[in-house]
């Protein structure tokens, strides 16, 4: 009975993976195609990557995406972490209310956030461009940071903060030297989420930008109107970057755990 059942789930998983990843693989393979065709592979070449590097418009978009993602990650991580710590000290009613409000931007469809921000910036006569894009990214990244840091803050034992102050640490030193190290896993997870959210955002960026400022997703969207295999090359690079970020996020904690377990075993001996 058990045996008969086993074949199907594996087949199902394989089909799912094929469905998800074959298109991506095809795209990656065709980014190395020597011809323009998207259906016939005619030989390996780095032609499209050369084109990509030579295209200043695309390179500009890459630098916008990277710098916005980096800045938005840093700002939203600091904001979100401080907010999470503050929340844990807030009265219960207010806290629950704020946590629910914090979930709104996460659950809202991007398009709603996007249009809302666009209207806000227009009505306040903001000059649309890099700043508005950065502000928007900080805005939609921060809730993710709060959501991943808050559980760690709740686990934090207040007596550790008391102990630090007792030993002469000012409140700021206590934050940096004791609270942050204790909630580091949450902060790290939040940073990764923020970075990936910001780096691959299209909808919000598209609506809040202006004055010719474009990030990778916007330029890819504009390029798809003509067939241009350069976007395959660009997308491949984006996928690799995100893959590396995910690997860091999953492998680093695993290694840290292993090290700790190793020490545990050593001490048992």
């Amino acid at each position: 009975m058990k045996k008969r059942k086993k074949g199907f789930p594996i087949l199902y998983i394989v089909l799912c993976f094929l469905f998800f990843y074959v298109p991506i693989l095809v795209m990656m393979v065709f980014s190395f195609n020597s011809s323009r065709s998207l259906t016939r592979f005619e030989g390996f070449s780095l032609h499209w990557y050369e084109q990509l590097l030579a295209d200043s418009e695309i390179m500009g978009a890459v630098s916008v995406s990277v710098s916005i993602a980096a800045l938005a990650t840093i700002i939203s991580t600091v904001l979100g972490t401080l907010t999470a710590i503050g929340l844990s000290k807030t009265r219960r009613v207010l806290k629950e209310w704020l946590l629910n409000v914090n979930n709104l931007p996460i659950m809202n469809p991007d398009i709603v956030t996007a249009i809302g921000l666009m209207i806000l910036f227009s009505s306040m006569k903001f000059d649309k461009g890099y700043m508005t894009m950065l502000l928007s990214h900080v805005l939609f990244c921060t809730p993710y940071v709060i959501t991943s840091v808050y559980p760690k803050v709740r686990q934090f034992d207040d007596s550790l903060a008391n102990a630090a102050m007792d030993l002469g640490a000012s409140p700021f030193q206590t934050l940096i030297k004791v609270i942050v190290p204790c909630i580091k896993p949450g902060i790290f997870a939040g940073m990764l989420l923020a970075f990936t959210m910001s780096f691959d955002d299209f909808v919000v960026s598209y609506f809040v930008t202006g004055n010719g400022v474009q990030n990778i997703s916007i330029i890819v969207y504009n390029m798809t109107k003509r067939t241009n295999p350069t976007i395959n090359a660009l997308s491949t690079i984006v996928i690799v970057v995100i893959l590396v970020a995910l690997l860091i996020g999953n492998v680093v904690p695993m290694l840290a755990n292993k090290k700790k377990n190793g020490r545990l075993k050593e001490e048992e001996r």
């Binding site: 034992d157 007596s159 550790l160 008391n162 102990a163 630090a164 102050m165 007792d166 030993l167 002469g168 640490a169 000012s170 030193q173 030297k177 004791v178 190290p181 204790c182 700790k260 020490r263 545990l264 001490e267």
Partner: protein, 350 residues
């Protein structure tokens, strides 16, 4: 008793309210240099709150807190020359033993070589030589305890606060640590303010015991005073076992209870004042019925290891007696008391 210097901490009329609950109701207490002072009382009586006020984690609602004569009620904890050993140790889990102990000195930006020397000295004082690189989360309770003590003492505070530091240890380790803590206190020669709800621990370690109940100090004294001369029924009840009997003070050195007059050593009560008498179970001597006024019948005898606990029923009440002699249940006996063993207390209003 260790030789005590000047008064280092003074609490004057300290009260503390949480919301509408009054947790401390006017605490007056002088704490001296070199003193091993213990706050003793049942759980919830406000011991931790007093420590937190002294450490600076709570502000008193009313009253003054003087440190060397200066009011420090508004000084933040990180600026006080006081360190704490927390109830659950509160070691930093992400630092090893060495870095935990060095934390305070690192904050003060002390020279690395000086830190090294002081940390090593402190680790050997608490018997943790060679533990520098260990992960604190993997230490036993007793070892964590020692790290917590070293981490506090390495800063050379004037006063060390210890909040039930031994309550998480098993009985044997607890006894060991009691002796060791006392030794450490004498070695470093600073004031220890120790909190416990265990009367035996308090009596065996302290120079001075402060018995508390319900946010008020009931009695301050040496362990011997507290045990032998409890000032009221609460103290007598809380410290050791006792027979507490209502009676009248006829005049100085003469007390009457259960229908008979007894000689005692207490003075200064009003004539015929209603009082309560404490008789420790081990102070009551059993004699033949015709040799004593107080007579009764043994209604139970239970072996307790070193002694037997007898219950003797008289016309008025039941007396608890500890004796190493064997007595049969049902026997009629008399009970006599030395005048030093009759402790007269003011009657408490409940």
């Amino acid at each position: 008793m260790a030789d005590m210097g000047d008064c280092i901490i003074e609490l004057r009329g300290i009260t503390k309210n949480f919301d509408d609950q009054q947790v401390l109701r006017g605490i007056d207490l002088n704490i001296y240099e070199n003193q091993f002072l213990t706050l003793l009382g049942p759980s919830g009586c406000g011991k931790t709150t007093i420590l937190r006020i002294i450490a600076g984690f709570e502000e008193p609602s009313k009253g003054e807190l003087l440190f060397n004569g200066i009011d420090i009620a508004k000084v933040p904890p990180y600026k006080r020359e006081i360190n704490t050993v927390f109830q659950k140790y509160a070691l930093f889990p992400f630092l090893n033993v060495y870095d935990n102990v060095a934390f305070g000195l690192n904050i003060k930006k002390v020279d690395k070589s000086v830190i090294h020397q002081k940390v090593q000295k402190m680790l050997s004082l608490v018997g943790l030589d060679g533990f520098e690189k260990r992960d604190v989360t993997l230490l036993s309770g007793g070892q964590q305890q020692r790290v917590a003590i070293a981490r506090a003492l390495v800063n050379e505070p004037k006063v060390l606060l210890l909040d039930e530091p031994l309550s998480a240890l098993d009985a044997k380790l607890r006894k060991e640590m009691q002796g060791e803590l006392k030794k450490i206190q004498q070695e470093v020669g600073i004031t220890f303010i120790f909190v416990t709800h265990d009367q035996e621990e308090a009596l065996s370690m302290s120079d001075t015991v402060v018995v508390m109940n319900d946010g008020k100090i009931q009695q301050i004294g040496t362990p011997v005073d507290i045990y032998n001369e409890p000032e009221n029924r609460f103290v007598a009840d809380f410290i050791g076992e006792s027979n507490i009997i209502e009676g009248n003070m006829i005049r100085d050195c003469l007390v009457k209870f259960d229908g008979y007059e007894f000689e005692c050593v207490d003075k200064g009560f009003k004539e015929n004042e209603e009082i309560e008498v404490v008789l420790r179970p081990e102070d009551i001597e059993i004699v033949a019925p015709e040799q004593a006024n107080l007579v009764g019948e043994i209604i139970s005898s239970v072996f307790k290891g070193v002694h037997y606990e007898l219950i003797v029923k008289t016309a008025q009440r039941e007396y608890k007696i500890h004796t190493t002699d064997i007595h049969e249940v049902g026997k009629k006996v008399g009970m006599v008391l030395d005048k030093e063993d009759i402790h007269v207390m003011y009657k408490m209003d409940y």
